[in-house]
């Protein structure tokens, strides 16, 4: 706290603070009536703007509440019921798993026919196909036996 070579002690700092605060408080006490009136008006405007804000929020909530009348609610309920009952019919399609299997089986045959495999590779593929056919035959046999 040095200014022009003069240090300020804590005591003198407190003294200046005290005197300054007293001067400022006096100046506030002695504000002209016109300023006081203007400040009161400013405060009133601020509080009114807050009240207006609250009122507009309440109005918006009230408008939102008016949407929920009996006609709107019954129409919404009817829409929900229609969707609830029609949705199973729309989604009831053939088993996608079997369709995928059939398409993949034919695609495999086309792939084998169109590809240039040597004899060893063809034998391996034929073995796989035979194993697959055998497993299917066994499944069918067990189903007939059980049925």
């Amino acid at each position: 706290m040095m200014e022009q070579g003069k240090p300020i002690t804590e005591k003198s700092a407190k003294h200046i603070e005290k005197q300054s605060n007293a001067a400022l408080n006096d100046s506030v006490e002695s504000l002209s009536p016109s300023v006081e009136t203007s400040l009161q008006q400013a405060r009133r405007i601020a509080i009114d703007s807050l009240e207006n804000q609250h009122q507009s929020v309440q109005r918006r909530l009230f408008n939102l509440g008016s949407l929920f009348n009996i006609k709107v609610l019954s129409a919404g309920l009817a829409c929900c019921l229609v969707v609830f009952f029609t949705l199973p019919f729309i989604t009831n399609q053939p088993n996608p798993h079997s369709a995928t299997f059939l398409s993949s089986n034919t695609a495999l045959s086309e792939f084998i026919l169109l590809s240039d495999f040597d004899d060893t590779e063809l034998e391996v593929i034929e073995d796989i196909e035979f194993a697959y056919w055998l497993s299917q035959e066994l499944d069918q046999g067990s189903e007939l036996h059980n049925g």
Partner: protein
């Protein structure tokens, strides 16, 4: 809402004086205080009342800074004009104080000192003035003042020390004369 009204009532005069010291203009100070009040009421009234004071002074501080920025721009645009309003109204505050003092014989010394101190505070640089008023007069802590002024705590301490030093220097000048 009642609580906010009481808070604003309690703070309005001091806020006005702070704005007046910063702008040297009664009309501009009133505008600034009104804007700060409206913003506090509409944006921050839901906050905890203990937060209102630093928030209000932060808004006030920002409004004062905006005012200074506008003045700087205006001075640049209308560079041929003299800085009449500021210099004319510079002593408005001190005259006002002198007019409303009572019992001049017994209070002559304190009146002179008070007027002189107000004039000294008014002539402080913006940051030092705001820092001094917030710390000393409003009683905000260093941390709160730093938050209000959007500067760090060390800067607050520096501005405050410089303000005190200048005020002491002014006071000593008065005592010598």
């Amino acid at each position: 809402m009642r609580e906010l009204d009481i808070f604003l009532q309690d703070i309005e005069k001091r806020a006005f004086r702070m704005a007046q010291l910063a702008t040297h203009s009664e009309a501009d100070a009133l505008d600034i205080v009104q804007e700060a009040m409206i913003k506090l009421a509409t944006k921050y009234s839901e906050r905890n009342p203990s937060e209102w004071k630093p928030l209000f002074f932060k808004i006030l501080e920002n409004r004062i800074l905006d005012w200074h920025r506008k003045q700087t721009v205006m001075r640049k645009i209308f560079f041929w004009r003299k800085e009449g309003p500021d210099t004319d109204e510079h002593s408005e505050l001190t005259h006002e104080v002198a007019d409303y003092q009572f019992d001049p014989e017994s209070q002559l010394a304190s009146e002179q000192l008070g007027t002189h101190l107000l004039s000294a505070i008014e002539s402080l640089p913006m940051k030092q003035q705001q820092c001094f008023l917030l710390r000393s007069w409003e009683g905000l802590s260093t941390k709160e003042t730093a938050e209000v002024m959007n500067i760090n705590k060390n800067s607050v301490k520096t501005h405050y020390a410089r303000a005190l030093s200048k005020l002491k220097h002014q006071q000593e000048n008065l005592e010598h004369t």
